[in-house]
């Protein structure tokens, strides 16, 4: 008969193996392929491992600029989605009371709606003959349809903020639910007004949750390529589009791999630095 301890093997080993094969090893494969000296597909006969693809990326200002732009866009998108989701979550946690379930469900519907469909919706709204231009011209606010609202960096940013808001509201809501009301009552007893209580208790207590939310939006967005290719035009393309291109049309897998590895490193460095800064502030407080 299998004991408790023996069962642990059957519980822990399968997920370990699965994640090793389909998560850890593949990431290692990308790193390995990025060191192949040849360009094109995978060719182990082209010579010794080399850093020439990394050098090529680092020597090409256009690539680095695109990485910088993507990080900047992801920062704006994640910050905006978090800040806009915060009042929604706050309302659900503190004001909605017994109807919180209904209001939460209202939020789940856009959350569960197809991602591509929501991107398409913005194309429909922002297009040259789209809804926004139509409304503006029929109201006589503008004579001609305003130039292309779609196919721009702004369109990518707006669309992605829109896509992420419902996703961002849920973890912030969970964080706000853990704010202990007795702390707020104690502060009130000691004479703190509503804004003081919000700034000194609610915000600090929900900050870890809000920061986690920020990163849960920021990290995937840095590598985004689907939305830019649909509403970004050429000006709104992101670093992820370059990577995708090297794996499809351009067909230079080692170079694409090097670009992907550099992106992951950049993201990791940013996350580590950000966590440091936040910790320091908490030490100072």
């Amino acid at each position: 008969m299998l004991g408790r301890r023996g069962s642990l093997w059957f519980l822990a080993v399968p997920p370990y193996l699965w994640l090793l094969l389909l998560f850890v090893v593949p990431l290692g494969v990308v790193a390995a392929i990025s060191l192949l000296p040849g360009s094109g597909r995978i060719n182990f006969g082209a010579g010794w491992p080399s850093l020439n693809h990394y050098r090529e990326v680092l020597d090409t200002p256009a690539y680095l600029r695109r990485l910088g732009i993507s990080v900047g866009m992801a920062f704006v998108i994640a910050a905006a989605a978090t800040v806009l989701a915060y009042p929604i979550a706050y309302f659900l946690a503190f004001r909605a009371r017994q109807r919180a379930t209904v209001f939460l469900i209202l939020l789940l519907v856009p959350f569960a709606s197809s991602y591509l469909l929501r991107v398409m919706a913005w194309k429909l709204l922002l297009g040259r003959e789209g809804a926004v231009n139509w409304v503006l011209t029929s109201l006589g606010l503008i004579q001609e349809p305003a130039g292309l609202l779609v196919y721009s960096q702004a369109a990518v940013v707006i669309t992605l903020i829109y896509v992420w808001i419902p996703f961002a509201a849920l973890p912030i809501y969970a964080a706000l639910q853990r704010v202990d009301p007795s702390h707020l009552e104690a502060a009130a007893d000691l004479g703190a007004g509503p804004w003081t209580r919000f700034a000194r208790i609610t915000i600090p207590m929900s900050l870890p949750g809000a920061l986690a939310t920020f990163f849960m939006v920021f990290i995937p967005t840095v590598g985004e390529y689907v939305t830019p290719s649909l509403v970004g035009g050429t000006g709104g393309l992101m670093y992820g589009n370059l990577i995708q291109d090297f794996f499809t049309r351009a067909g230079n897998w080692p170079l694409g791999s090097a670009m992907a590895v550099l992106m992951l490193l950049a993201v990791l460095v940013l996350v580590v630095v950000a966590l440091r800064l936040v910790d320091l502030r908490r030490v100072a407080a």
Binding site: P87, M120, L184, E185, A188, Y225
Partner: protein, 273 residues
Amino acid sequence: MTAVARASRQGSAIGVGRTRVPLGLVYALMIVFLYLPIAVLFVFSFSTNTTLSFPIEGYTTDWYAAIFRNAQLLTAARNSLVVGFLAATVATGLGLAVSIAVVRFRFIGRGLLLALAGAPLVVPFIMLAVALFLLFNLLDVPRSMFTIAAGHSVIALPYATLILLSRLVGLDPAIEDAAMDLGASYPATLRRVVLPLLGPSLLSAWLTCFIVSFDEVALAVFLAGGDQTFPVFLYGQLRFAQTLPVMIAMAVLLMLGTVTLTLVAFFIRSRSE
């Protein structure tokens, strides 16, 4: 009577006076902002316009009828169902194993297991897409529904683990001890006691994973090969104006399906808690 006592007698969550910020209005505006684009597209799916343009010239249900004449579209939708089913089943099974191991046992590598199970959430999808694409190439695995399902099982695992973990933490381990004191083996205890208690959360986790997979496109584009899922097919068709109205109609239809599933998953979870 103090202000606090008065307020808490009225059942206020916070206690005393509030800021004058009309949060209900802010919430209402955000909801309008979130629903409006979807609503516009929903209305547009009944429009006779063949391009993404306004105003709408007339109304028709032809696009919905055309779905059932488009064999490629139906195949892609079926592929999505198969991929979602496989990915959700694997992810929920593994998520269950991870959460039981992590919550009920102390062992070397426990923290690492939990970190690994959550890690796919914080790696940009294009990175994982490229990684799996190269892996399957090296291993000479032809790209198919199974490679997409494998990829989706990895990105769905954090969701399954999170949902099951939070439920398991709230389950009293004494129930399991009782079952074992009465002579049940540990596997039997898991099967006969823990699994039934987790039942609703398991279903909710499975549905969540299914939806994550069903809607996923960034990874699937890289791993699809000939077996396109619906989002991959849609992504490819978005450039062709003439098929656009049918695509939108189909997307609206599938969206109604995923929204329903999400609500079902939500109710199952809130009922079990």
